[in-house]
């Protein structure tokens, strides 16, 4: 097909489409760009005029970043932003590894091991995926603090994890599992039956099939869903507020950032670079692994 033919196969005429797309792309980029510019401006400049004037009277500085990362103090906290970044990592890494690891095994069990109630478990998990986590926040917090009591009897002892990192990554693992299982199930169930059966005929049991066949073949799906989970957990605020709200010692970047920027008329010379620090890691993950991330989103939403 010629280029002309291509052009007419587009439902909208070109000049208008180009204009619309350009405008939207600008609208979607300019706000972030404004934050980037602001984070390099002096405090006096930020409060006296807009960031777009910085190009006619350029006065840029790295002091804001120095303050936010290394000198601490002010609204940023004694230790600066780095401890919060460490917290974010210490919450995100275990939650991603556990939810994807356990999710893949569960997906395999639901797809390839015949057992009673397999279908019911699958639909049950899918239904739980729709439960808003608002519904479980407080009881789960109480459970961590006091254990489970039913009619006055303790049926599960308290876990001594309140105020520790585990009390944040454990809920993330729990809340993430239904979606992870569902998405990976879509993938694992689609693996060719012949390969699985050939391996079984050769005498491999479920443990060997999983390790030698399913795990290697699922690596692309694992990568995409791990990225998805990473961004979701790294960017979360609600779970962090509930389970790490009491102490700065385990608070992730988002929580600290929300506290910093919460008041109107905030200190932009701190907030802007702090926000930039918090979005830089997900942006790096996103731009370097975009292909996988998109594939992961599609796995759940579009039938192949």
């Amino acid at each position: 097909m010629s280029d002309k033919g291509h052009a007419s196969s587009r439902p909208f005429t070109s000049p208008i489409a180009s204009a619309v797309v350009t405008i939207v792309a600008l609208l979607w980029t300019v706000p972030t760009f404004g934050l980037v510019v602001t984070s390099f401006r002096k405090k006096e400049d930020i409060v006296s005029n807009g960031w777009w004037t910085a190009f006619t009277h350029p006065h840029f500085t790295l002091d804001n970043f120095r303050a936010v990362l290394f000198s601490g103090g002010g609204t940023v906290g004694e230790q600066g932003m780095i401890p919060f970044a460490v917290n974010s990592l210490a919450i995100t890494i275990p939650a991603v590894v556990l939810s994807v690891g356990l999710g893949l095994m569960a997906a395999y069990a639901l797809a390839w091991i015949p057992f009673r109630f397999s279908d019911q478990v699958f639909y049950g998990l899918f239904a739980l995926q729709g439960v808003p986590l608002q519904l479980s926040l407080l009881p789960l917090l109480t459970f961590f603090a006091t254990g489970i009591k039913l009619f006055g009897h303790t049926i599960f002892p308290q876990l001594h994890i309140v105020g520790k990192l585990a009390s944040v990554w454990l809920p993330h693992t729990m809340f993430g599992l239904p979606l992870v299982i569902y998405l990976l199930h879509n993938f694992v169930a689609g693996l060719p039956r012949e390969i699985m059966e050939a391996a079984r005929v050769d005498g491999a049991n479920h443990f060997e099939v999983f390790r030698k066949i399913v795990l290697p073949l699922s690596l692309p799906a694992i990568a995409s869903i791990a990225i998805f989970q990473f961004l979701w957990i790294w960017n979360d605020l609600l779970v962090a507020l509930v389970f790490a709200g009491g102490t700065d010692d385990v608070a992730p970047l988002t929580l600290h950032l929300a506290n910093l920027g919460g008041s109107l008329g905030s200190h932009w010379e701190n907030v802007a670079p702090a926000a930039l620090v918090s979005i830089i890691i997900p942006l790096i993950v996103f731009f370097s692994l975009q292909r996988y991330f998109v594939r992961g989103l599609l796995a759940g939403s579009v039938k192949s």
Binding site: S9, V20, V24, A25, L27, W28, P31, T32, L35, S48, N49, G50, W51, W52, T53, E78, Q79, V86, P94, V97, G101, L102, M105, I113, F115, Y123, Q129, G130, V131, P132, L133, Q134, L135, S136, L138, I148, L165, A166, M174, L177, F207, F210, W234, N235, D236, L237, V242, T254, L257, A258, G261, L264, A275, S278, P282, L283, V294, L298, S301, V302
Partner: protein
């Protein structure tokens, strides 16, 4: 002053914790797989189910299943869950003026945002299809997906930041209003329109998702169908309406329902930008405040259940289409 040694001292135990969790997890399953590989016969089925599925199920049940039931029960109890109060908390949700406002705002969010996000995503993906620099434009529009809504809220706080009229503005939106000689207002305080300005943040953050998913569906439309329609003389908007839209109908519904659930649960934007003040409260934020500011667990639970009730029809619809799909 932050020193490297103090940073190391505070970070080391946390890094050690990450490593411990990973070692325990991989160690346990490493041993389990080594041992499991030796077991043959019928026993291995139940052993595999036990090791593969049961841990995940236990976590999901303790994290979501059981707590959901507890919250449901709490919603019929008083502030500190010591007494049963019947439907009082639900009655409160519909009569208390503040909660009712949160309710109405949530309805407005659900009515407005998903439709805008989906139609904008559909328009963009259709326009971008086969356009020059398609991938570049897409990454720009998709980028906010990687930014947290906390970060996005701060980015837009800066856009909306307000100075007295006739003073140099620090927010770009205010500056543009001044250039256009529109009467300047503090947009986040201007009720009820401030709700719309908050929705902008969500639309900005979520349109990329809609666009990417719809774009994949559009690329999946068989070319011969498009060509047949063109031979019949369809082009431009008619081609869009009579071929593109019907062909990606299921995907449109997926995007629409995902956005609906997202707006029902929306929390971060409100909590970060207004804290629910200036008549911008929504159910999810109100629920948080009831639980952690007013310490009224009964009311908080009732609001959580109301959010759940909003999600139920969508879940049922999704399960039904999932079953149909599984049968085929």
């Amino acid at each position: 002053m932050v020193t490297w040694s103090s940073l190391f001292q505070s970070s080391w135990p946390k890094i050690a914790q990450i490593l411990t969790v990973l070692i325990i997890f991989f160690g346990f399953y490493g041993i389990a797989f080594a041992a499991g590989a030796r077991i043959k016969g019928k026993k291995q089925n139940s052993l595999a189910v036990g090791l593969f599925l049961v841990p995940a199920l236990i976590l999901v049940m303790t994290g979501l299943g059981v707590p959901a039931i507890q919250t449901f029960l709490e919603s019929f109890k008083n502030a500190d869950s010591s007494q049963w109060v019947g439907l009082k908390n639900y009655k409160n949700a519909f009569t208390d003026t503040e909660v009712r406002l949160a309710f109405i705002n949530t309805l407005a969010w659900v009515a407005i945002c998903p439709v805008i996000v989906t139609s904008l995503g559909l328009t963009l993906s259709t326009m971008l299809n086969k356009m020059k620099r398609e991938a570049f434009a897409k990454s720009l529009i998709f980028m906010p997906m990687a930014i947290s809504f906390v970060g996005g809220s701060l980015i837009w706080n800066l856009m909306y930041s307000y100075q007295e009229p006739n003073h140099p503005q620090t927010g770009l939106v205010g500056q543009i209003m001044m250039w256009l000689h529109i009467h300047l207002k503090h947009l986040l305080l201007w009720s009820p329109w401030n709700n719309l300005f908050l929705m902008v943040v969500y639309i900005w953050g979520f349109t990329g998702f809609a666009m990417v998913i719809l774009s994949a569906a559009i690329k999946g439309i068989p070319t011969d169908i498009e060509e047949a329609a063109q031979l019949d003389g369809a082009s431009g908007f008619r081609l869009f309406r009579s071929v593109t839209v019907p062909m990606v109908r299921t995907t449109i519904i997926v995007v629409l329902t995902t956005a609906m659930v997202g707006t029902l649960k929306l929390f971060d934007v409100i909590h970060t930008m207004t804290g629910g003040n200036f008549k911008t409260d929504v159910l999810s934020n109100r629920m948080f405040d009831e639980n952690f500011v007013y310490l009224n667990y009964g009311r908080g639970a009732a609001l959580a259940v109301l959010i759940f009730l909003g999600v139920i029809p969508i879940t049922i619809y999704n399960i039904r289409s999932l079953r149909l799909e599984r049968k085929h």
